[in-house]
């Protein structure tokens, strides 16, 4: 913000000599040290915030330790999920019966998860983003009420939503059979609110001044949207895509209700209800680790894509991409 300095009326003043400090007059006691020059360290407003940083690290440890343990035990040599029995990759591909690679149920679960996550993200994000843009600019009762409906879909307990979808597909829209199609439809509806809320929040802070500037420069509305608005929303779009992907990978309730046979049951369902004895145990951790890996890969890929797409336009900040992503 530039503070506009009100221009003072022109006044001509004679140039005065600056007062010169010749030191204390002779005979006077020596000057006391200027207390304001030395401050105790904790008064320094620009000091490093140790307490906050420590607190944040503590939080992160609390948050991530279970993940580390879960991933660790996916490499457990034995069947236990709590007693370390040595390192091995048996649950991934080593074990001929129970590893993810060899157990058809687990393998198809991995495929189904990927399928659902990709389809849902690819459908939900564009529709959600468009919805947010439209709702933000189009001020009518309809748009406000659908904004409310969207928020409602976020708040409603997932189980009742799942039950409602089950009824929908088995009694009303029976041409849609339970299975992957029903799962995707249910998941998109359930995750629709992510891109909508996130992009809307970003739109609120961005405002329309940039597009107006573009319009002043001669762009048509659609051009302005395409070349100004969408790029500005990219971080929010990206963030919401990540969240939708992660949410689908982890979703269980809706998917279970709308699944049909074993090959439409994704990893989350298997994790929640799996075989025991020789088949369960660390194989689940392996599945969860794979879920983690997928999400990670998607985020990295998205990050790279984002940086590539905005390669000519980025600011000087090195971490611009990541921070603007979360800047939503």
């Amino acid at each position: 913000m530039s503070v506009a300095t009100p221009s003072a009326p022109e006044v001509i003043r004679p140039i005065e000599a600056d007062p010169v400090d010749d030191g204390p007059p002779p005979g006077a006691p020596p000057p006391r040290p200027d207390r304001r020059r030395w401050q105790p360290p904790w008064r320094n407003p620009w000091r490093r915030p140790w307490i906050l940083e420590g607190f944040t690290w503590l939080y992160l440890i609390w948050s991530l330790a279970p993940i580390a343990i879960a991933v660790l035990f996916s490499f457990n040599n034995g069947k236990s999920q709590s007693a370390w029995q040595g390192f091995s990759v048996r649950w991934y591909w080593g074990d001929p019966v129970n590893s993810i690679f060899h157990n058809p149920m687990l393998r198809s679960a991995v495929e189904q998860t990927l399928r659902l996550a990709v389809y849902t993200t690819v459908i939900a994000v564009p529709i959600g983003v468009a919805f947010a843009i439209g709702i933000h600019r189009w001020h009518t009762r309809t748009s406000t009420s659908f904004n409310f409906v969207m928020v409602f879909s976020y708040v409603i307990p997932e189980l009742i939503f799942g039950v409602a979808m089950f009824f929908l597909f088995t009694q009303l829209f029976t041409f849609v059979h339970l299975g992957t199609v029903a799962e995707v439809l249910g998941l998109v509806t359930w995750n629709f609110s992510w891109p909508a809320i996130i992009v809307l929040a970003r739109l609120v802070s961005v405002g329309s001044s940039y597009e107006e500037a573009a319009a002043d420069l001669g762009a048509s509305r659609l051009q302005a949207i395409r070349r100004v608005l969408i790029p500005m929303l990219m971080p929010a779009i990206f963030a919401s895509a990540v969240l939708v992907f992660a949410s689908v990978v982890d979703d269980f309730v809706v998917v279970d209700l709308l699944s049909s046979t074993a090959n439409t049951q994704p990893m989350s369902v298997i994790i929640y209800a799996n075989t025991h004895g020789g088949n369960g145990g660390p194989a689940l951790n392996a599945l969860a680790t794979m879920m983690l890996l997928f999400s990670f890969v998607v985020v990295i890929a998205g990050l790279v894509a984002y940086r590539w797409m905005t390669r000519g336009e980025r600011g000087s900040s090195r971490h611009d991409a990541m921070t603007s992503i979360a800047g939503m």
């Binding site: 157990n103 088995t170 929640y272 799996n274 025991h276 004895g277 020789g278 369960g280």
Partner: protein, 425 residues
């Protein structure tokens, strides 16, 4: 409506948390006159449960002293004799979670040159809802006894052609004409189990075998935080009944139910009661010291013992006079399946002793096949000697108490009382 040991089950030794799980089996079963009136339910495309306009025959609730012969319908007949098994087929099994050994499925597939696909369900409610929608072509289903009425009336399962299932001769004789399916028209038996009390001998002083009323064992404040009952409305309400010396586990009496409810509410407060179906892992891990438990789960406890703790610290009690809950599951062939011949052959396969032993070694639950004796199980290393009390003997079915179908209003009452006791957990 009975409970089922796999209701709301989840492996990996953790607390079961299946949102869709828990409890209840399709409540209703009260097979109210499953007559032809139910033809509309189930198979039609737009399955609507509201087609109850046709008048229904009087209630047919199978009881040990009122055996039932299910009707056979012309629109739902058994397959013909002498057919060849389907080629290049995928046999689809619809079973509880973790209730059948994958090895058995693989071996069957190899033998009959077909693929075998296992789909699991977590609650009977979910399973029946999906079957009724008519969108699935599963071949084999594993229902409990109490929902047979609904399944038969809605023609979801088809009558069996006995020529494909000669191994029935290996089953205990009473299963050729059980009271819930005289002349085994629709079912063959699958697993059998009892419900008793499992306890940790190293932490609990009392021995239920010497107690006057062992069903009251959980009601001890000194074990606060270490007591659990099963998350199943029939089983746990029955525990309440049994503790009060009431032995009709299908009671319609509200006074009896009230007594049971009050005892359980008291138990809630007394010991900060846990409610879960993880008896097979919580007792071995020491998290729970007294657990209302299923026999098959405890039989498998050896696999969940932490290093260094021997399995004989675990005890399982079932009343010596046999007056405790017993039950069994069945295997059935679904009418909507595309591989009925293979389905019959599968049923036959699961009545054969070696396959049965293989299955028991996996899920711990006994099957009523000749040759499955405590001695055989111990000798094969399937059962630890200290847990032979989990074995189900044929005589148990003489005195045992069965949890069977209830009329809808009664069933709703049981469910409501259970909701009060459990608070939804």
């Amino acid at each position: 409506m009975t409970f089922h040991p796999r209701e709301g089950w989840s492996e990996d030794g953790s607390r079961r948390s299946h949102p869709l799980s828990r409890r209840t089996f399709l409540a209703a079963a009260a097979a109210t006159g499953l007559g032809a009136g139910l033809a509309a339910c189930g198979k039609s495309g737009a399955a609507s449960p509201s087609s109850t306009t046709t008048p229904l025959a009087p209630l047919a609730l199978p009881r040990p002293d009122h055996p039932v012969t299910w009707p056979l319908y012309t629109s739902n007949t058994a397959i013909a004799d002498g057919l060849q098994p389907e080629r290049n087929a995928t046999l689809k099994i619809y079973n509880w979670v973790a209730y059948i050994n994958q090895k058995d499925l693989d071996a069957f597939g190899k033998k009959y040159k077909c693929k075998v696909e296992l789909t699991t369900f977590n609650t009977m409610t979910e399973a029946i809802a999906k079957l009724r929608s008519g969108q699935f072509d599963f071949d084999v289903f594993v229902p409990t006894v109490d929902v047979l009425g609904q399944l038969i009336g809605a023609k979801i399962i088809r009558p069996l052609n006995h020529t494909y299932i000669p191994n029935i001769s290996q089953a205990w004789p009473q299963y050729t004409s059980p009271f819930y399916d005289q002349s085994w028209q629709y079912t063959v038996p699958y697993t059998i189990y009892t419900t008793g009390i499992a306890w940790r001998k190293d932490h609990v002083d009392e021995n239920p075998y010497t107690m006057a009323n062992a069903w009251a064992m959980p009601w001890q404040a000194k074990y606060k935080g270490k007591v659990a009952i099963l998350d199943d409305y029939r089983e746990s309400m029955s525990l309440g009944l049994l503790k009060n010396g009431l032995f009709d586990l299908n009671t319609t009496s509200t006074t009896q139910l009230q007594k049971a409810t009050n005892s359980l509410l008291q138990l809630d407060r007394l010991v900060n009661l846990h409610i879960d179906n993880n008896d097979y892992s919580n007792v071995p891990s020491g998290q729970i010291w007294i657990h209302h438990a299923w026999s098959g789960d405890m039989a498998a406890a050896a696999g969940y013992m932490p290093k260094g703790t021997p399995v004989d610290v675990i005890g399982y009690w079932f009343p010596t006079d046999g007056k405790g809950p017993v039950g069994n599951d069945t295997l059935t062939v679904l009418s909507g399946g595309s591989n009925p011949v293979l389905a019959h052959l599968f049923l036959n396969y699961m009545l054969d002793l070696p396959n049965v032993l293989e299955n028991i070694s996996y899920n711990g639950y006994m099957q009523p096949i000749n040759g499955v004796t405590p001695q055989a199980l111990v000798a094969d290393g399937i059962l630890p000697p200290s847990l032979t009390s989990t074995v189900v003997l044929p005589s148990y079915f003489d005195n045992g108490l069965r949890e069977l179908e209830l009329a809808p209003a009664v069933d709703a009452q049981w469910n409501q009382d259970w909701l009060r006791v459990s608070g939804g957990v």
